[in-house]
Symmetry: C2
């Protein structure tokens, strides 16, 4: 027997490389050859480790969504007071996972795939459910849903704006939404 059936380290490197390639040339531009070159693995490895390019994309976006989701959750659960929660939501928009152009591009690519291909909606719905759950640690469900949608919208505007975003805009938006929210203590 050889050491392992599927070298997980190599497989993992392919997934990371896939995200890099997607961020650079978009889902439209990915190919086995480009990913293999970026991961520095032979072309043959691609078909060996994955059934097809769809599976590579699926696994790559799953990893991306889970990473973003964990960061979101960590940020929200670190907030103790209501004021900290408010600040945490703002940070999510202006300095967190969704802050670099790379992350924003990947997010958009994932949304686009999910909008067109039902199979990918599993990834986005899990992500959205996790975000909402994290927000519901501090806010009532209706507010969590509204905040979630607004975060998406502001992030999108951020991705498409040519000039740098003013953090105050996000803070103001959140304050206005929270002004209409049920007061809810932080769950112990």
């Amino acid at each position: 027997m050889n050491v392992r059936r599927h070298d997980p380290e190599r497989r993992s490197r392919i997934i990371d490389a896939c995200l890099d390639v997607v961020a650079e040339v978009g889902v439209a531009g990915v190919s086995h050859r480009k990913i293999a070159a970026a991961a520095d693995v032979p072309l043959g490895s691609m078909t060996y480790h994955f059934d097809g390019i769809d599976q590579v994309l699926y696994d790559a976006f799953t990893r991306f969504a889970q990473a973003a989701s964990s960061q979101f959750e960590a940020r929200m659960s670190a907030a103790g007071t209501a004021q900290e929660a408010r600040r945490a939501v703002a940070d999510l928009i202006v300095t967190d996972t969704l802050s670099t152009q790379r992350e924003l591009v990947l997010m958009q690519e994932l949304y686009t795939l999910a909008a067109r291909i039902p199979r990918f909606r599993g990834i986005t719905s899990a992500w959205m459910a996790a975000s909402r759950a994290a927000l519901e640690r501090h806010f009532d469900p209706a507010t969590a849903r509204l905040l979630d949608a607004t975060i998406e919208g502001l992030s999108l505007h951020r991705a498409l704006d040519t000039e740098p975003h003013d953090p105050q805009v996000a803070l103001d938006a959140i304050d206005r939404i929270l002004a209409t929210a049920d007061r809810k203590a932080h769950r112990p």
Copy 2:
């Protein structure tokens, strides 16, 4: 001289066909051949009427954005009272341009392109500016911006939700935002 230099009717049909193809297979799947087949024009027409596939996409998304923008503007300017404006915003989300899966997919594809390629941001920024201007007919600028972002977010959630969207959610969200808005009379 021949009748015309660039037959506009044929060129226009190619643009429409391009949107159809993108809606079906995504930007990742478009090709000269598929668009030509969908438009029922010879393959050679593609390079004759357009400099490259990027230009086809650019023109197609420009048309799409302008159509959506006009509809948005028409919907908002038809509203006279504040109550009608509130209803108009809700309609934008639940029954208007952004309501069919086709429109939502195209919108996502455009956003993704714009996030990655600065050239396409001209289309999205014009669209966003027009939306905001239409909203500012009824609401103060800060509210218009917040509404705009929230509309985007709710539309996105709608595109990715597996189950049909409850219109009441959109209405509630708008009401909560408007509850914090400056009262502003409809400009004559």
